[in-house]
Structures are given as C-alpha cells and as structure tokens.
C-alpha cells in the first residue's frame, strides 16, 4: 500500500517538475510583458522534438549513452533562442494592444508551431528509445523509481532555486521585478525595454523547451503534446496565481500530484478534477494562491 502511494506521488512529482518549468516560463512572461502566452505548450513540444534529435545525433556521433542528458539539456536550452525570433518578429507589435489580441497572437503561434513541428519531424511519434532506464532504478520506500525521474525532479528544483535567486538577488532580477510592477517607472529609470522583453521572452521560452527536452526520455514526442500541455500549465498558473513564481511551484505540485492520484484511483476524473479546482480558485480567489492583492 505504501509502495503504491509512494509510486503515485513520485510520478506526480516528476510530472510536476516538468509542469513547473513550462509554467515558470509562462509566469515570467506574464509577469513582465503581461501576455498570457498560449504558445508555451508549443515551445515545450519543440523542446521535446529537438531533444530527440539532439540525443539521436549525439549517440550517432558515438557519445557515451550514460551522458545523454548533457546534449539533451543543452539542446533544450539552446532552442529557447526561438523565443527571441518570436518576440522580435511578432509579439513586439502588439504590446500596446488589448490583451485579447495578444492572446490571439499567441494562439496564432500555437497553430504555426504545430505544423512547423510536423513539417520538420513528420507526423509519427518520436522517442529516445531505451535511454530512460540508462541510470537504472532505485528503491524508495518499498517501490522502485527510474533514477532519471529523480534527476529531473532535482534539476527542476535546482532551476526553481536558481530563478528565485536570480529574481531576488541580482540586478537583472530587480529590473524584472521593477518592470513587472510598473513599466513606465522602469522605463523612466532607463531600463531598455526592448532588450528586457526579448531577454525575458527568451528565458520563458527556454524554460518551456528545457521542460520538453527533459520529459522526452520518459515519453514520446507527439505533435499534439503542446496543445495538451498548455491547458495543464494554464491550470497551474491559475491555481498558483498569474505571474507568481512560488505560485508556479505550488500549482505544479498540486496539478501534478492530484492528476497522478486521480489516474490511479478513478481515471475518469483525471483532468476533470483539475479544471474544477481551477474554476473554484478563479471564482473564490481570482488572483490564485500566490497572486497579488488586487481582486
């Protein structure tokens, strides 16, 4: 019984770590640019495919399989550069528009990315066959979990701490927080908004693509994975509170673990439960658990 519970919770936490990365990307972009980026799921899918390819090349080139995680992470982060293209090429034109139009523009990006991925990688699912258990399994409280899962959980936590540190202890973090609070003020103080927006969006994108790359050994890359993840990431940020990093962490844990429990107890409930929680949070606490005080 304990073994089963531990298993369910750990698989939930694994999913939560991935969800956290994507949601953190969503949050940082919303926090600074006030754009709810529906395309964050597409970046996640992109990261997954690039990850598959990168690992493929790496193994073909004769790299030791034990170190596959290195090219995976590097590729996942590097493809975040797409964010700069998207921001400079599209988003920057709509900063002064109604948020509805901003939302629709990111929906346009979702549509384009989905096909761009199909064009590049084809329509059949891709996977990194057999690498998932490279590091074996380890016993935890009577059950065994893939070591890879623990590595991803650890990496995600480390990234959470890193972002926390970046936001609270560095000059760049102060600029981000100041711009999130008051754009005009930050601009008046000489912050280069153009560069900041491009950087922030690239950071948000890289978090999404890294999430996609890291999840891939445990699953397969499919072109619909992006539009499916966005609604989960959406649930995370609503529950946690739009724009809040702590909210992303807690929200991801809530969604990841609850989903895992629902799947093992009563599979029909799965996401239904999550959306009902989202509605409850939106109705009772529209700013989420960690959102600002304004109602």
């Amino acid at each position: 019984m304990t073994a089963h519970v531990v298993n369910v919770v750990l698989s939930g936490v694994f999913h939560a770590s991935i969800l956290f990365l994507v949601s953190a990307g969503l949050q940082v972009v919303f926090g600074v640019q006030k754009i709810f980026n529906l395309a964050c799921g597409s970046f996640y899918a992109l990261g997954a495919y690039v990850g598959v390819s990168a690992v493929g090349w790496y193994l073909e080139a004769g790299g030791p399989p034990a170190l596959f995680i290195a090219p995976l992470a590097v590729a996942g982060l590097a493809v975040g550069a797409v964010g700069v293209v998207v921001e400079r090429g599209l988003l920057r034109f709509v900063y002064d528009r109604d948020e509805t139009f901003q939302l629709l523009l990111t929906f346009a990006i979702v549509l384009m990315m989905e096909d761009a991925i199909r064009l590049t990688w084809g329509t059949s699912p891709r996977s990194t066959s057999g690498l998932y258990l490279t590091y074996g399994r380890v016993g935890v409280l009577g059950t065994t979990v893939p070591v890879y899962n623990l590595i991803v959980i650890g990496a995600s936590l480390a990234i959470a701490l890193l972002i926390g540190g970046l936001l609270t202890r560095t000059a760049f973090g102060r600029i981000i927080r100041a711009s999130a609070d008051n754009r005009e003020m930050a601009e008046a103080l000489g912050v280069d908004m153009r560069r900041l927006y491009a950087t922030v969006f690239a950071l948000g994108t890289a978090l999404g693509t890294l999430g996609g790359a890291l999840v891939i050994p445990a699953t397969v890359a499919m072109s619909e994975m992006g539009i499916e993840l966005i609604v989960e990431a959406f649930a995370v940020v609503v529950i946690g509170g739009l724009g809040s990093m702590r909210g992303a962490l807690v929200g991801a844990l809530v969604v990841g673990v609850l989903r895992s429990i629902a799947i093992s107890v009563y599979p029909e409930l799965e996401m239904l439960l999550i959306y009902l929680i989202v509605i409850a949070v939106l109705v009772l606490r529209p700013r989420g658990l960690f959102g600002g005080p304004r109602a």
Binding site: F101, L104, L111, V231, A235, E268, E270, V283
Partner: protein, 318 residues
C-alpha cells in the same frame, strides 16, 4: 444601399448554389452555415459586449451532443425538437456558467470560460460509456419539418432538404440577431462594451446585461453545434476542445468583429480557405496561423474592416 445589394446577391447565390455548384462545395456550405449561426452569437459577446470567450466550443459541444443523444439514444428524430432542446440546454448550461464568468473581464473572463470548456471536453472524453469517448456518438439523420427523408441517399439529403433547412435556420437566426443588436437591449450592451463604468452610472446593470448576452450567445452556439452534427453523422469531443474555441474566435476576427456580418463572412472564408489550403499543402495550420498573426498585427478590423472603413458599431438611426 450597396450593402443590401451585396446581401441580396449573397443570399441569392446561396439559394441557387445546390442547383449549379459542384456537390463538394455545396457540402462545405453546411459547416459554414452552422458556424455562422454560432458566430452570430459569439459576436454578440465579442463585438457588441466586449467579452472574448475562449470556451465557446463548450456550447457547440452541448448542442451537438444534445442532437446525438436525442437521435441515437432516445430515438427523437425531429430536427425542430433537436434544435429547441439544444437551445434550451445551451441556456441551461450557460446560466450558471455565465453567472460566474461575467464577474470577470478580459483575460480572467477568457481563462474562466476556457476552464469551463475544458471541463465539458474532459467529461465527454472520459465518460465514454455515456458519450462514446474519443470515438464520439452517432448523430442519426434527423427528420425535417416532420418528414423522415430516410430513403434519400445521404448526399441528396444533405445538398437538398438539409441544405435549405440549415439556410432557413441561418436566415432566421440572422434576423433575430439583427433585431437584438438594434434593440434598446442591444444599445445597453454597446454602452457596456465601450465603457462599463459609465454604463453603470447610467443605471445599466452591467453584470446582468453581460449575463444575458452570454446566455443568448450560448443558445446560438448550441444551435450551431446541433446543425454541425447531421453532415458528418457523428459528434466527437474535438468539437469542444479549447483549440476549437480558439478557431471560432479566429473566424470572428478574420471576418471582422466590428461588423454585424463580419463573423458570417469570417466563417465562410475560413471554411473554404481551409479546404483549399488543405488540398494544396497538408499544413493548413501554418498558413492559418500566419494569417491570424497578420490580422492581429496589421488589420484587427478583419476582412469587413477593408470593406467598410468605420469603427465598430453601425448607427442605429438614420
């Protein structure tokens, strides 16, 4: 006057289409007319009240599944009964959902409607014993105005009686919506879109009007959803997925939310362009994504914006 001329021309062409146009293109008119009905409703919310719902596929789904249940489970075949039931259920679902949603505006309204849409989607997807899950449910051929029409070959049924039935529903829905946007009620909606604070100080209860607009738009979407069923003969959950909600907002924007007929035009262009693009290249989303991006960035007035160069509302009096 020229507007009326174009309208008469369009209506005439639509009436004559089954007699002259290739069957394939006539069949495409069916989803167009169904979406057009739904979009008239969506635009009451978007263009006239200033609220963008990202979960309206929910109501398309309610309408379509109402028809599927009635025909395949309860063996109710009358299309009039189906449409009335779809409208009633649409209103019934929209009443509580709307009451919660209209307390918020902009992005929060969008998110809440999206969440409700996903609740419905997951419900029909997961409770497959009831709904057939991702395989969907059959929507059996409905009888039109009391005539069973079971003996007709499917295509003859669709391009004949069903085509004109859909057209009649669309025309009726258009006339009713035309009255609504030109009524005192419609004027109150426009004040809310333009400036809710000011509307409130004029004694216009913003939340109540928004709720009414929400319910009416849901009824339209449900009727449109029910019309979508017979052409394919099957109803599945993708109809209620969030991307579908995005697509119908896309159609509205494509045609032009600021004009009464903009969304109808949007649905038409969307359906035919999508069909044409898919016949040329398999990647319609890439092209449509680019079109949507271009509209958002350079032509937020949509296609109607090129035609009539004037801001959102038409004058109500001469």
């Amino acid at each position: 006057m020229s507007g009326r001329f174009v309208l008469a021309l369009a209506l005439g062409a639509t009436v004559l289409a089954p007699l002259v146009a290739p069957t394939y293109h006539v069949l495409l008119m069916l989803p167009f007319m169904a979406y057009a009905v739904a979009l008239l409703g969506l635009n009451l919310l978007f263009g006239y009240t200033g609220l963008v719902s990202f979960g309206h596929a929910l109501f398309l789904g309610v309408g379509a599944y109402t028809g599927a249940f009635l025909t395949s489970v309860f063996n109710v075949r009358s299309m009039e009964t189906i449409l009335a039931a779809a409208a009633a259920l649409g209103a019934l679902v929209a009443a509580p959902v709307g009451a919660l949603c209209v307390r918020y505006v902009k992005i929060y309204f969008g998110m809440l409607t999206l969440a409700f849409g996903m609740v419905f989607y997951t419900f029909v997807l997961k409770f497959y014993r009831l709904t057939g899950g991702d395989e969907g449910m059959p929507f059996l051929r409905p009888a039109l105005v009391g005539r069973s029409l079971e003996d007709l070959p499917k295509t003859d049924y669709l391009v004949g009686p069903y085509y004109y039935y859909s057209l009649a529903v669309l025309v009726l829905a258009t006339l009713v919506m035309w009255r609504i946007v030109r009524s005192p009620f419609g004027l109150c909606l426009k004040t809310i879109r333009d400036n809710p604070t000011k509307a409130e100080t004029l004694g216009i209860g913003v939340a109540r009007y928004r709720w009414c607009a929400f319910v009416i738009s849901a009824v339209y979407a449900a009727v449109g959803g029910a019309l979508l069923g017979p052409p394919t003969g099957n109803v599945d959950p993708t109809l209620a997925y969030w991307t579908q909600s995005g697509n119908i907002v896309f159609m509205t924007l494509l045609g032009g939310f600021a004009s009464f007929f903009g969304p109808v035009l949007g649905a038409f262009v969307f359906i035919y362009l999508q069909d044409w693009v898919m016949s040329v290249v398999p990647f319609w989303r890439l092209i449509f994504g680019a079109i949507l991006a271009a509209i958002v960035i350079v032509a937020p007035g949509g296609l109607a914006g090129f035609w009539v160069r004037r801001p959102p509302v038409e004058a109500s009096s001469p």
